[in-house]
């Protein structure tokens, strides 16, 4: 584990007790994301899914904890590792799988693909395959919400690799100048693709938003309750006109940069991977909390897992059997 990453679970206990239903909802969402990503891996390895697949297994608590604190009409933008964000913001499994397979029933009629799923009906303005590329869009959505006086907030999800992109600093500056209702959620999974982030990042990550006077929070991103509680406070701030915030979530991606990134020992050890999988797993962390409270039994959680598995299997089945777009679609939607 990186020495720079602060993981002090005991000092960051939830400030508020969530109701059981909400814990179970977040549990369900995380389990759905993991099952979805595992299915993506399977589809990809069986050559059923074309293109690239960047899995978010290990990072589920960030997507779920953040989106749980948002309203349905709040905005998010996402990145290449965005399946979890889309699901957590209300995306449906069948339309996502259909998009991943390039089918007409997909969220973008098969024209976007894994790295470009957008679902504006749930406030998802789209995943983005340019690192840091959606920072402008998210900030613009927050600007628009402020000017239209809609009380919406925007969340920009990005990895720590985006801290190398200048656009992020340009828009953070404007967000703070104009007190825009946006939360920049930085998922630090420790690696810029195949490079440890420390080799690419001078100084402390959080000093960068602090330079603009932006309110900064840092959380252990493997505990969904912490992510949720912290985001909720930042959302309240933003909704009440108190301006942008930067939320650093320390997390880990279990798989490689993409599905094809199998041999990873040259940039991170198997011991490190094992430690995160066994000691910092977001689903396991929440499971332990739920069981400790005592109101929920293990079999209830197993039921949720079985339901998620079933939903994923039937969603994938739907997508596999769905038709490709008609060839006449190729030049449709270039212009409005």
């Amino acid at each position: 584990m990186s020495t720079k990453t602060k993981i002090d679970e005991k000092s960051q206990m939830p400030k508020m007790v969530l109701d059981v239903e909400q814990w179970l909802h977040m549990y369900r969402q995380m389990v759905r994301i993991r099952a979805f990503e595992e299915k993506v891996n399977e589809l990809y390895l069986n050559a059923i899914m074309p293109g690239l697949a960047h899995l978010s297994i290990g990072q589920e608590a960030v997507a779920v904890g953040v989106c749980e604190a948002l309203n349905h009409d709040d905005y998010i933008t996402s990145n290449h590792r965005g399946h979890g964000h889309c699901l957590a913001k209300g995306g449906s499994v069948d339309k996502m799988f259909a998009e991943l397979l390039g089918k007409e029933a997909g969220y973008c009629r098969g024209k976007g693909g894994s790295m470009h799923i957008a679902n504006p009906d749930s406030g998802n303005l789209g995943a983005n395959a340019i690192v840091g590329g959606s920072a402008g869009i998210a900030t613009g959505a927050a600007f628009s919400a402020q000017r239209r006086n809609t009380q919406q907030v925007a969340v920009c999800f990005f990895g720590e690799g985006s801290l190398g992109e200048g656009l992020l600093y340009e828009v953070m500056n404007m967000a703070q100048l104009w007190k825009l209702p946006i939360i920049y959620v930085c998922e630090n999974n420790l690696y810029n693709e195949y490079t440890p982030y420390e080799e690419a990042t001078a100084g402390e990550l959080t000093d960068r938003p602090k330079a603009f006077g932006i309110h900064v929070e840092e959380v252990y991103g493997q505990d969904v309750t912490l992510v949720y509680e912290t985001t909720k406070q930042l959302v309240e701030r933003a909704r009440h006109g108190e301006g942008p915030a930067f939320l650093l979530c320390n997390t880990y991606r279990y798989h490689g940069h993409h599905v094809g990134d199998i041999d990873r020992v040259y940039y991170r050890s198997k011991d490190e991977e094992l430690e995160w999988r066994t000691k910092h797993d977001p689903i396991q962390t929440l499971t332990e909390k739920i069981i400790k409270v005592g109101m929920i039994k293990q079999d209830q959680l197993e039921k949720i897992q079985a339901e998620a598995k079933q939903e994923i299997e039937s969603g994938a089945e739907f997508a596999i059997n769905a038709p490709y777009p008609d060839l006449s679609e190729v030049d449709q939607n270039v212009y409005f």
Partner: protein, 333 residues
């Protein structure tokens, strides 16, 4: 249209742009202007002077010097119900916004399967001979013209500047409007009543019989000047302004070339791989069996725009050079 018409007055190109913006901002509260020094300063060219007084700083928004940042912000605002007009002071700064323009604005509608749209206008400038050096003098309008998802308008008169701007603001797609900064003070007739100019409709700026000169933006005035010179030589030149490089009115270009049998394409972008190449190809393809001479291209010289006035003046087509090329094609040189 003539000045005898009491509903027409003479105003400058800059005033025409400003009128278009003001009218659209009055009509639609979601329209706003964003860019560097657009408010009190009214841009270095003073095109926007007075707008902040009428619409306030919430709708005429000064930004930090962050072209990519405020362009990206405008894309997001456009995706969520607003109609931004982004001001990029010099066309040379398109280099700084290309990801947000090309990878984001142009592709959002397609990548989302038609669910999202980006009704954004980007105003920027082009044009050499202002002694501004290599980084403030380029005409890079071919870059957005190359990208599916973008529309590009190149007004050449105050009348066109106003009508095209109003159409751009009402368009649900990202539109790049490139204005020649040397034309802001040029006067022309503009009606007082409201009008718009549809995209993809070329304008015959001067009818003629012997040769077609297709010209864009500042080069329209150069072509009209050349046509006057040619008239003295007994050559009747037809000057056609496509007004938008995309959508492109191929039919008008081709029909004119079929009629005259000769064509020159003049544009201030670099000649190499430029707008002239595309337009010449359209004519060569569509009017091949009617042509008596090869279609000639005239663009900016393929060098970084030099500072020294004597050198800079060599880099762009002039009335004389266009007239000379026309005489050559007509067998009179």
């Amino acid at each position: 249209m003539s000045t005898s018409d009491k509903n027409v007055r003479e105003i400058t190109f800059a005033e025409a742009v400003r009128e278009a913006l003001a009218e659209e901002m009055r009509r639609d509260p979601t329209v706003f202007i964003i860019g560097e020094d657009v408010a009190e300063a009214g841009t270095p060219f003073k095109v926007l002077s007075g707008l902040v007084q009428e619409f306030g700083k919430n709708r005429v928004i000064n930004t930090p010097i962050s072209e990519a940042g405020f362009t990206g912000l405008a894309v997001g605002a456009a995706m969520t119900g607003m109609r931004p007009v982004v001001d990029i002071m010099f066309g040379d700064f398109l280099t700084l916004v290309m990801d947000q323009l090309v990878n984001q604005a142009a592709k959002v509608h397609y990548m989302s399967g038609g669910k999202l749209k980006v009704p954004m206008v980007m105003r920027t400038t082009m044009g050499a001979t202002r002694r501004s050096g290599a980084q403030h003098s380029q005409s890079l309008h071919v870059w957005p013209s190359h990208i599916p998802g973008l529309k590009v308008a190149l007004p050449s008169t105050p009348y066109d500047a106003k009508g095209l701007m109003k159409t751009a603001i009402r368009d649900d797609n990202p539109v790049v409007i490139v204005e020649d900064k040397m034309m802001f003070k040029m006067k022309g007739e503009v009606p007082t009543e409201e009008y718009t100019i549809p995209f993809g409709v070329a304008d015959i700026k001067r009818p003629g019989r012997d040769i077609t000169i297709v010209a864009t933006s500042s080069m329209v005035q150069v072509a009209l000047g050349a046509a006057k010179i040619l008239e003295e030589d007994g050559i009747s030149a037809e000057v056609i302004d496509p007004r938008t490089t995309f959508p492109l009115d191929k039919t008008t270009l081709i029909e004119s070339a079929k009629k005259t049998s000769r064509a020159i394409v003049v544009d201030e972008g670099y000649e190499r791989y430029g707008v002239t190449a595309e337009l010449a190809s359209v004519i060569a393809d569509g009017a091949f069996y009617y042509l008596d001479a090869p279609v000639k291209r005239m663009g900016a010289m393929d060098v970084p725009v030099p500072f020294s006035p004597v050198l800079e003046d060599l880099t762009v087509p002039t009335e004389q050079s266009v007239a000379k090329m026309a005489r050559y094609l007509c067998g009179k040189e």
